[in-house]
């Protein structure tokens, strides 16, 4: 009898908990970006709280795993250092992003215009892609020196392949009906490109740009690892040698912040450029 009472009490306690969560989530709008953001925020906060609890309860030393509070402390302390080192990394990543994507799209266009060039060089391009970027970085350092150039080159190289592959796919993934129409209208190759292929490829190119905008930050950091005295990659290595784990975490957050900002900018651009529904055939 007593047992039963305890059981029932326990059940009602969990029920209250469930009801509480329900009540909180019911306060949020049913759908839309606000709900996505808030629900994501709640999920993320729960992980941060759990992380803080684990660190505090088990007394994990902060040079092994810093608690969220340690990381926030490090960000406040090293704010100026992180910001000043973010500038070269952003510069390298941005230049690499521009160069890598520009070259990739130019090569993709040459493939579309000349089938023979595509047959000869596309397989080679895919082969080069299989070489790990970290393995190419030292070569680039020898060739390009200690300045900004090897970092930009790594970032550009890492952007190049996803955009090349997607742009080639985009330029060729044109509805055959539209090509037939352009043939009946006696359109030239350039006209087909300008009025059909370019627009057809844009959704593909933008998915590639969203990948490469985060990858170019990685490329710049890898470039900095090989040899640099400034930048996010340099601070990462330096923090590791100093056993300053909270600063290491703060630097990681900075790097991720740069990538998220880039992703957001490209996403906004995509919304502005692609005003039609790419999935729809009309």
């Amino acid at each position: 009898m007593n047992q039963d009472v305890v059981n029932i009490a326990g059940q009602s306690e969990t029920a209250t908990g469930v009801r509480l969560v329900h009540r909180i989530t019911r306060l949020l709008p049913d759908e839309g970006p606000l709900r996505v953001a808030l629900m994501g925020g709640i999920g993320l906060s729960s992980i941060v709280v759990f992380w803080q609890l684990v660190c505090s309860v088990f007394g994990i030393p902060h040079y092994l795993v810093p608690s969220p509070i340690d990381v926030v402390e490090a960000i406040r302390r090293d704010w100026a250092l992180l910001a000043s080192n973010a500038v070269p990394t952003i510069t390298e990543a941005f230049l690499g992003f521009l160069i890598g994507n520009f070259v990739a799209i130019a090569v993709a266009i040459s493939f579309v215009y000349n089938k023979i060039i595509q047959e000869m060089y596309y397989p080679g391009a895919i082969l080069i892609k299989t070489i790990p970027i970290v393995a190419i970085a030292p070569v680039l350092k020898i060739m390009l020196g200690n300045g900004i150039e090897p970092k930009v080159a790594v970032a550009a190289l890492i952007c190049f392949f996803p955009t090349l592959v997607n742009a080639v796919r985009g330029f060729t993934a044109v509805s055959p009906n539209l090509l037939e129409l352009m043939h009946v209208l006696s359109a030239s190759k350039t006209e087909v490109f300008r009025y059909v292929r370019l627009y057809g490829a844009l959704p593909y190119v933008f998915s590639a740009l969203k990948i490469s905008v985060t990858m170019c930050v990685l490329g710049a950091i890898v470039g900095e690892w090989i040899g640099a005295n400034k930048g996010i990659g340099y601070v990462l290595i330096q923090s590791m040698y100093d056993f300053d784990t909270p600063r290491l975490f703060a630097t990681i957050l900075t790097a991720s912040g740069i990538a998220i900002a880039g992703f957001a900018i490209v996403s906004v651009l995509e919304k502005l450029v692609i005003t039609w529904d790419p999935g729809e055939t009309v």
Binding site: V184, E191, V192, Y199, T275, W276, T281, V282
Partner: protein, 273 residues
């Protein structure tokens, strides 16, 4: 059988000749080679007069679209000759003698309705734009009663409206020949009936020659002056039926018993093939 008396064409069909618009002689189309060789069309002769409305019907895969594509210079015939006003299909295509409407509207989803209709002026022979031969894009939209939708994107339109835009795009160059490949095949019956009547109105007003591929016997009879029945692969012409209907064809005529009788006649011709 009564021939439809053409009112004086308003534009673009040159008056004064009962000339052949299209002459096909001994057309043969073979796809592939070796063991995979498929003979799609075997030895087709067909003449289409200027201003005529001719439908091609047949079982699916019988090569009626292939024949239309030979006229449109999309497919080169393996043997035989195709002449469009005495010119090769290639020359006729460059001269914009014909326009084509497909089963899908094939609009550019990123452009407005007006920009889509203007496409024929932007590509190919640009000098057409200034010539008196062409009409204004807005005028073409008015012809299909879509002038209020010039700035809309194709995605905002219904399937029937999109197909009307495609027709406006085909008419804007004032072609002497309109080639239509199952243009209303993807639309529901009510929309199809409305567009049938509108197409006849445009045809009568424009005096253009129309070659119309369809798998609907009813549609073929309702629209055409002549219906060309094609046999199964390898396709040849099984027979040609002159349609016996008044020249003024309105929606009421859709349920006329004369249409039913002629549909039955077409069906027996098809079954024979």
């Amino acid at each position: 059988m009564n021939r439809v008396v053409q009112p004086k064409p308003e534009y673009w069909a040159e008056a004064g000749s009962a000339a052949s618009a299209i002459q096909l002689a001994g057309i043969n189309v073979t796809f592939g080679s070796g063991n995979k060789k498929v003979e799609a069309i075997a030895n087709i002769d067909l003449n289409v007069s200027q201003g005529e409305f001719v439908s091609l019907i047949g079982h699916s895969g019988c090569g009626k679209s292939t024949l239309l594509r030979v006229i449109a210079d999309i497919i080169k015939p393996t043997r035989g000759s195709a002449l469009i006003y005495g010119e090769s299909p290639d020359m006729a295509r460059r001269a914009r003698t014909f326009s084509m409407v497909f089963q899908q509207s094939v609009l550019m989803p990123w452009s407005t309705v007006l920009e889509n209709v203007r496409l024929p002026f932007k590509v190919g022979s640009r000098n057409l734009q200034s010539s008196s031969q062409a009409m204004d894009a807005v005028e073409a939209l008015r012809l299909v009663e879509l002038d209020g939708f010039a700035t809309a994107k194709p995605a905002e339109l219904s399937g029937g409206m999109r197909q009307r835009v495609a027709i406006a795009r085909a008419l804007v160059t004032k072609p002497r020949i309109l080639l239509m490949d199952e243009p209303f095949g993807a639309l529901d019956e009510l929309v199809r009936d409305t567009l049938n009547v509108e197409l006849l109105k445009i045809w009568r007003k424009a005096g253009t020659t129309i070659v119309f591929v369809t798998h609907s016997l009813h549609e073929a009879v309702f629209l055409s002056q002549r219906v060309v029945v094609m046999s199964r692969r390898p396709s040849h012409i099984e027979g040609i039926m002159e349609v016996d209907l008044p020249s003024e064809r309105t929606l009421d005529l859709k349920d006329d018993p004369r249409i039913g009788a002629q549909v039955a006649q077409l069906r027996s011709m098809l079954d024979a093939g």
